[in-house]
Amino acid sequence: MISLTPRKEIPLTLTLMTPLVAIALTLVVGAAIFGILGYDPLAALYQFFIAPVSRPYQVADLFVKACPLIIIASGLVFAYRANVWNIGAEGQLILGAMAAGFVALTWPNLPGPVMMPAMIIAGMLGGLAWGMIPALLKTRFNTNEILVSLMLTYVAVLFIDWTVRGPWRDPMSFGFPLTPMYADAALISRVELPGIGRLGQLHWGVAGALIFALAAWFMLSRSILGFQVKVMGDAPRAGRFAGFSPAMVTIMVMGISGGAAGLAGMVEVSANIGQLQPDISFGYGFTAIIVAFLARLNPLAVIIAGLVVALAELGGDSAQIALAMPKVVTGVFKGILLFMLLAGETFNRYHVTFSLPHRARMQGDSDA
């Protein structure tokens, strides 16, 4: 049996150690699973966590991979802090990318200084609108936001598929499901340093992601809204007595997290793809959930957590190529990491002791 006694205060070292221990244990368990399945565990771990960053430009690519994760997770932090479970960021990302794509494809001749802001706003509004559906259904009809936001992700995947095969398809694409390429003004350019040149795939969207995470941190820790979010999550009754509206908080956090996911979709397409296609995201919306938890729902820590999880994502690619592992194997790591983090949270909040079950007491119960 496991018994839990709440800690009176949580030491800071423990708070900082938890994610590190969780990552270490994930590696051990992951290696064991690979070993059982007949892969060389050390080779697998090497492919996963060392090979993707063994050259300098690859470190830049790590930031590129982390970019959408950081943006989405910065938004999700608000929702999860308020105990609102938006797990449909993937769908919100797709709708954001489509809304931004609509601007880019409808008015291709907009000048750069107009195009970029218009696409950013459209992307955020697209994600926000998709996030508003579960939010309003929850506040109005009391539906479960987990199920609705997830169902809408399936709908979004089918919707973009139809759009790029149907009305938005480029007539010159030889039947491929692709829209026309965006105009240059609608593309996010690569970072070019004088004297050094390009750093892998590094683009300016990454800088945007870092700023976004900082802004999220500031809003959560320094604004009234952030305070409301935290109160409604930790002590909803106290929040109601203070006059905060749970419905309003739900709408706000779904809007923020949806808008962030939409922005991530816009950045991802404009920086890396340059046109809309059926697959624009590789489950970033789901992976960002793990990033948010790895960061312990702190937007500043989201930056580091995003890089760590992005490493595992790139590792999945390299393991796929070098060891012929299926791509989904990254999911094993992500799942275990999330398990470890959640268990770590318990060690953080409670003294955990293990003991044998009390046999005597059980018998007494059945006699009664």
């Binding site: 699973i33 259904l137 094993v332």
Partner: protein
Amino acid sequence: MLEDLILTVLMTSVPLVYAATGELIVERSGVLNLGVEGMMLMGAVSAFGIAMVSGSLVLGVIAGGLAGMLTAALFGILVLGFATNQVATGLALTIFGAGLSGLLGAPLIGHAIEGLPVLRIPFLSELPTVGKLVFSHDLMAYGAVILVAAVAYFLKRTRAGLVLRAIGDNHDSAHALGYSVLGVRFMAVLFGGLMAGFGGAYLPLMLTPHWAEGMTAGRGWIALALVVFASWMPWRVLVGALIFGGITIMQLAGQARGWTIPSQFLSMLPYLATIVVLVLISRNREFSLANSPACLGRAFHAGK
């Protein structure tokens, strides 16, 4: 033609009945396991693998159930032993199950096996129409109906069912009365995993005779929605599953008949229907929450 259509609707709803009925018991004990999709995938890949290696479909089904149960045990230890957040742990279980099933199933892609032997009831199955619709299914389809009946009886008429409901409605009182809250909940979680595993096993063994990554396609989530739709009453799960089976088949039938609606919109139907159904059920709070377990999703530890 119509008979065949109805038959496919029934078959499509079978995995939903298993998974949703299992989850219903879990939720009635006060635990929310969002990992149904992951457990179903683990069940599906194990069932297919074992059935292929052993050549026995029965062994396949058993393996599927056990795999679902093992996956659920992981969830149970974390959520009950370590009092972790149930929503996040369930999500982790789905991510983990999807990943591990893909890894295990990689060598199985491209293989095919035949379905479970259909249990033909002599004479009755030869009756026109009725014989085909009622008396000529596979064993698991009959098992689904028996399962619902058994769960309904268990919850309503047995002492153990009463204890389970008491723990789901007020774990502090149940604990004070001397019932093992965590013990009962762990059993419920294992049962839920077993059923999700059976539901998953049905997919590659019966519906489509092959394994594909992520082949559940959201059925685990629809099963979760079905529990809400059923307002935690077992027989209503059966009704809900038939409705969803009907909608799923409607889109396939529509495509086959060359409806002019793009196939993507037809494929959206089960997901949109889930949302509509959730709204219709949830808007009436008295109806939807009458049987909702009061402690659903709340962690329990004795030292509180």
